[in-house]
């Protein structure tokens, strides 16, 4: 579910890449303030959230050099930033809920143990409020999955509503735009994840909304995946199109090029890769070092 919202590194200017990395490292530091272990679950997706919100609402970026125990050297990190703290909280919440979900699915006790450590005990007030809404949507999603819902849109809607809440941190005009942007980002993530996992889910006989939406009735799974590809492309690109349109209506103070890279290039490239089946990238919690398999 994580790791789809990324920049296209090769198309970032060196300066832009370093700024993005400062946000990434800044997010790591923020998470680390509340839990050292939770840093392992750091995602690019929440880095995107952090840099987007900061670039809309903050006048000045504060960047300092801090020592990173992981890289064993000093690195530039974004600091003193309430939006990064918020993104950090969201990262922790989503990681914790994913661990609990993994435990419920596979009875993996390691996931259960990790969920106790990467927990939601020290959140800000805004984050706690969001947690209630996130849990509500996750519960809806869970119910639909149990009922073997046959609509990728209906199941995706739950996840999209969740991300819509996460992105909308104010009730101002920008908040309205962020709400729609977040909705489409979430729709895109859920749909692309379902398509990416399709073959594995068919083989393991796990629920996947696409199986029921497009009436898979046994037979060659690869052929089925190919047959639904055009429909999937329409939905995925439409999500990105709407993300782009919403983005154009935001008043971004800085880092516009980095965010554009993610929306128009990184996510687009990810779409192409998943649709054409070249590389599989699954940054799940258990894949702590993020295995990228190319075939």
């Amino acid at each position: 579910m994580f790791g789809y919202v990324i920049p296209q590194k090769s198309e970032l200017k060196v300066r832009e890449y370093e700024v993005f990395r400062a946000y990434y490292c800044g997010l790591c530091k923020e998470i680390g303030k509340k839990s050292q272990v939770a840093r392992m679950a750091l995602t690019f997706d929440m880095t995107f959230l952090g840099i987007l919100l900061s670039s809309i609402y903050l006048e000045n970026e504060l960047c300092v050099k801090k020592f990173c125990a992981f890289k064993m050297k000093k690195v530039m990190v974004i600091t003193d930033n309430a939006y990064m703290e918020y993104a950090g909280d969201m990262n922790t919440i989503l990681s914790n809920r994913k661990l609990l979900d993994d435990y419920n699915d596979d009875r993996n006790f390691f996931s259960l143990l990790l969920s106790k450590i990467i927990n939601t005990k020290s959140l800000s007030i805004l984050s706690m409020d969001k947690l209630i809404k996130i849990d509500y949507n996750l519960k809806e999603l869970n119910n639909l999955e149990k009922l073997k819902c046959n609509s990728i849109d209906e199941t995706g809607h739950c996840f999209a509503s969740l991300t819509s809440e996460i992105f909308k941190i104010n009730e101002d005009k920008q908040g309205r735009v962020l709400s729609l942007l977040g909705y489409n980002v979430g729709k895109w993530i859920y749909t692309i994840d379902a398509f990416d996992d399709l073959l594995e889910d068919i083989n393991k006989q796990k629920y996947n909304p696409l199986i029921h939406t497009f009436n898979y009735s046994g037979g060659n799974a690869e052929d089925f995946k190919k047959a639904i590809r055009d429909n999937m492309e329409f939905t995925l690109v439409k999500c990105l199109d709407e993300v782009g349109k919403a983005f154009e209506l935001l008043q971004i103070k800085k880092n516009k090029a980095i965010i554009e890279n993610i929306i128009y290039m990184g996510m687009k490239q990810k779409t192409d890769i998943v649709l054409r089946g070249r590389c599989k990238n699954d940054q799940s919690i258990r894949d702590l070092r993020g295995k990228g398999r190319c075939y």
Partner: protein, 203 residues
């Protein structure tokens, strides 16, 4: 009014050609047609008004330039020739007001699923962000009434918008030979894997 140069994205003292070129680009970006089935349509309209104001101001100040409205703002009625029954008209009005819940409820109370019924449901789905259902319903409407231009236009607009996004995305990147790009992006994938949660431990 905010700084008109800033709104149009041109430097102070830009020539009329530069202003016109920038204006054309912005109209393409915020054109009402692009935001036709979009909940943020009013914000796009606002942005368009800002841009037009800025353009009028700058062009008038440069010379007695002619003001051209590059667009016309049509309410969503499509090619409605007045034949559709009053319930469908009511639903169309609800869609225009972005009251999708009411529109959907009214639609569900109709049992005769005509082409127009599928079309309107398709439009509602697209606005809701349920793109797969929307796509299917629009295709169904077209299949039931292939000669209807309104239904075809709606699907074409959606597909064209997608293509605009893809072209936009494509034009930003370096358009090199795809083989090398494939290798590079594969390396990038692997690179991100061995980055061990960093974006480049080797640099």
């Amino acid at each position: 009014m905010t700084n008109p140069y800033e709104t149009l994205g041109v430097r102070e003292g830009a020539t009329e050609e530069e202003i016109k070129a920038s204006y054309k680009e912005l109209v393409k970006k915020y054109h009402p047609d692009k935001y036709e089935n979009n909940p943020l349509q009013d914000l796009a309209d606002e942005k368009m008004r800002e841009i037009n104001e800025a353009y009028d101001y700058l062009v008038k100040n440069n010379q007695g330039g002619n003001n051209q409205d590059f667009y016309n703002n049509d309410q969503y009625n499509g090619n409605n020739n007045g034949y559709s029954n009053p319930v469908f008209q009511r639903i169309r009005n609800l869609i225009n007001l972005n009251n999708l819940l009411a529109a959907e409820q009214e639609l569900n109370s109709i049992h005769d699923k005509s082409a127009e019924w599928y079309f309107l449901r398709g439009v509602i789905f697209m606005r809701k962000g349920w793109y797969n259902e929307g796509y299917n319903d629009l295709k169904t409407a077209i299949a039931m009434e292939p000669s209807n231009n309104e239904y075809r236009s709606a699907l074409n607009n959606a597909t064209n918008s997608n293509n605009t996004y893809m072209n936009n995305a494509f034009s930003r990147g370096t358009r090199t030979n795809s083989d090398f790009c494939d290798t590079l992006s594969c390396l990038c994938c692997a690179d991100q894997a061995c980055d061990c949660m960093g974006l480049g431990c080797c640099c």
